[in-house]
Symmetry: C2
Subunit: 299 residues, 2 copies
């Protein structure tokens, strides 16, 4: 029987009080079937990121547990920190990893949103794939004005929440809950020190200036090495695959007489993103992930 794995990466507005953060992590670890893969706290941002994995049931229990503990401990009226935030539980994305579709993650986001909105009287904004409204997909747009501007913002008709009360929770603000693909942090280093070339390539490949739909990119110098880098986030590797980004950057670089020196993946990458790359370059037909030996062994 194939396993269902959904990743969930809730961000809470507390990154300083170790006892509070540990207590929340412990309460999540106590949820049957839920795994806490990581807890990263940043005292300057005054924010913590939990990396969780589980199936729908485990996360349906885990996220309300997180709300209960976080709301009891965090009061945004006295919260300071460098990272923008609008809620005690600020953002909760569900990410399909294995044996599960985006549609399932969207449905889970909505049911968890309805549940916590009713239970804790916190307004919930759906975002990314979970939001049917194109103007409400982008987290930065939802969060603009932060907790302090939320009362005024929510008074506008277009900022009515998707679930819960029409005004912010007094101490906990509002929460964005959504579904998205896993991010891939992908950089391509160029065999040149010409920063203008890296910047022009970044401009050519990123969506915001006319490039590929799921690419964010900037050109930066790698000071110590005397070379430049096209530094990217790939936000949906199924629709904008890594090999297409690589080929486009290589082609744009050639236009300036520049070679690709190397590329790098920072942090984690879904197996499927590598498999699709092999399929593309080998012109593989009829390949299925079930043919991967380790997957067969794991099932």
């Amino acid at each position: 029987m194939a396993m269902t794995v959904i990743e969930c990466v809730p961000n809470i507005s507390e990154g300083r009080r170790a006892d509070v953060i540990s207590a929340i992590a412990d309460s999540l670890r106590a949820v049957p079937g839920l795994r806490v893969l990581g807890v990263q706290s940043d005292p300057v941002h005054n924010r913590s990121v939990f990396t969780l994995a589980g199936d729908e049931k485990a996360l349906s229990i885990g996220i309300p547990t997180l709300f209960e503990k976080a709301l009891a401990a965090i009061d945004l009226r006295t919260h300071t920190g460098e990272h923008p935030r609008m809620g005690a539980v600020d953002v909760v994305p569900f990410i399909p990893i294995e044996g599960v579709t985006m549609e399932v993650c969207v449905a889970l986001a909505k049911s968890v949103a309805a549940d916590v909105a009713e239970h804790f009287q916190v307004p919930i904004f759906l975002y990314e794939e979970a939001s049917p409204n194109p103007a409400r997909k982008n987290l930065e747009d939802l969060r603009r004005g932060e907790f302090e501007g939320l009362t005024a913002k929510m008074a506008l008709a277009q900022w009515a929440p998707d679930y819960g009360p029409s005004a912010p929770h007094p101490s906990a603000g509002a929460t964005a809950i959504g579904a998205r693909m896993p991010l891939i942090a992908y950089n391509i280093n160029l065999a040149t020190d010409r920063l203008d070339v890296a910047k022009k390539i970044a401009q050519a490949v990123r969506m915001s200036s006319g490039g590929l739909r799921f690419v964010k990119a900037m050109g930066i110098p790698l000071e110590g090495r005397g070379i430049v880098q096209v530094s990217m986030n790939l936000t949906n590797y199924e629709k904008t695959p890594i090999f297409r980004v690589f080929d486009l950057v290589k082609r744009e670089a050639a236009r300036y007489g520049v070679q690709v020196l190397e590329s790098e993946i920072v942090g984690l990458v879904p197996s499927a993103a590598l498999t699709q790359t092999a399929e593309y370059f080998l012109q593989l037909e009829g390949f299925s992930a079930d043919q991967i030996l380790e997957k067969k062994l794991a099932d």
Copy 2:
């Protein structure tokens, strides 16, 4: 803690009596930590192939169990079948899959060989990576003459076994035990019906006629489709990677004005063979398998 997975694919000389085969499979399933991933029996060959997975301990118990059951049920003096064979348990390869090196599989092959040779008085020939002797690596060479020729063959000094008695077991013959890499069955289809081109390319890429060390290849027609195929076995994807084989076939095909139509992997492929392909084409530097999300989740 990372898991150790060794695959083991013993072949026994019985492919007709379902009760015997089932009883052996059941006794293997009863070994703690040993998984029986598949049992394939061929009545024409009169031979069965068990696909097992486990760690060193599980296989150290499982293979002697297999010998005990197989030797009690199989008598090669009355065995007929189309596949060449020299033993009741004919061949036992250990294959490193995850969290384990070839060296560990070689050591396991030797310790299991010593154990079963002593316990069952069956002569054992080490083969492939487990054999230090270049003339004894190839299974076909070991098995030439089959069970019926074994007494005469073993009378020659160069065919003294690595473990056990110097003459064949009366009913069970001898067994080859070794370690090898997983095979990848990999085919490349050409956009032409010219069989001579497929045959010339096969000749160019396979080791036996001067090509790459770990490639076996032949050119064949795909009758129904009006095209030809370079049909290959890659016997060590770490040393002769799949991408290098693809690139070489593509280049040789171009020399005849022929394009690669597509390629296909038949059956299972280790994740690392796909990852190394993505690394190659993306010019990835500093990538580690620990960055694969599913691997992180599995650990």
